[in-house]
């Protein structure tokens, strides 16, 4: 098994964190995983993305070229990256923020986070839950462990809740 995944959105949505949580979980699961990100001259603003390659064997070439899975949390991110998605690739979106002409699955993560959970900030974790359920690339347990480890101190519970909420949606 080897998959290329791109998490994308705009700065501030916690897109990089998504990649790190997923990567951490993959390591817990004993996979080989490589995370890369791209930087521009701006300190802030613009589309932003994290790329992950996960594999049972050693990942050599580290760059994602044609993602198997693209997660888009913003319209501009979708517009920038969708053309690179593999033909039979999986596209996951925040349906509240993004419209896609290409077939996509998703949920309104921002709304769930903001309205149901009362913390808009955790939309990325909701999406991660959804993504985990949809892809089954890593175990739920490892993801929860990784979430708890990497989110800011004191917000663990809320984030696990968010993760499970998204996971639920993904399993529907």
């Amino acid at each position: 098994m080897k998959k290329e995944i791109r998490f994308s959105g705009f700065g501030g949505q916690g897109v990089i964190l998504m990649g790190h949580i997923f990567g951490e979980a993959a390591v817990i699961d004993g996979k080989d995983v490589t995370l890369t990100k791209s930087y521009g001259p701006e300190a802030r603003g613009g589309a932003c993305s994290t790329d992950i390659i996960i594999s049972d064997d050693r990942v050599h070439y580290p760059q994602v070229r044609e993602p198997d899975i693209l997660i888009s949390m913003s319209q501009s991110a979708l517009d920038t990256y969708v053309s690179e998605l593999k033909e039979d690739g999986l596209l996951l979106i925040d349906t509240g923020l993004v419209e896609s002409s290409r077939e996509a699955e998703g949920l309104h993560a921002t709304e769930i986070a903001g309205e149901e959970l009362g913390l808009k900030m955790v939309a990325n974790i909701v999406m991660l839950g959804y993504f985990t359920a949809k892809t089954k690339l890593v175990s739920k347990d490892s993801m929860e462990e990784a979430v708890a480890k990497l989110v800011p101190e004191g917000t663990e519970e809320k984030n696990i809740e968010a993760f499970n909420r998204g996971y639920e949606e993904g399993n529907k």
């Binding site: 705009f10 603003g45 613009g46 913003s74 501009s76």
Partner: protein, 101 residues
């Protein structure tokens, strides 16, 4: 505050101009939305609270100012704007008052 009327987009650049007058002077405050990054300086430091963030967001997700109050054409907003996104356009140039441009 009540919404101010907005001038036509005269030059096809997307800018929005809000007419205003103060004492003997007439002019407008123009906003170039695609330059705005929503820092809110213009709104915060307008001495008469004539500006407000608009509801609609730009392509990049920022909310440029719009005029809702009575602008006194002081020019503070154009000076504090880090983005060259708002400026004061005078109707007639008055040599004597040149200093407030």
């Amino acid at each position: 505050m009540s919404e101010k009327e907005e001038d036509d987009d005269e030059n096809g650049s997307g800018e929005r101009c809000y007419p205003a007058e103060s004492k003997n002077r007439e002019g407008s405050i123009c906003v170039i939305p695609e330059r705005c990054k929503g820092c809110g300086f213009c709104i915060e430091f307008c001495p008469v609270q004539a500006l407000e963030a608009s509801e609609d967001t730009t392509e990049k997700g920022y909310r440029p100012p719009k005029m809702t109050g009575d602008c006194v054409l002081c020019g503070k907003c154009e000076k504090v704007c880090p983005e060259f996104a708002i400026y004061l356009k005078e109707k007639e140039e008055d040599e004597e008052r040149g200093e407030w441009i």
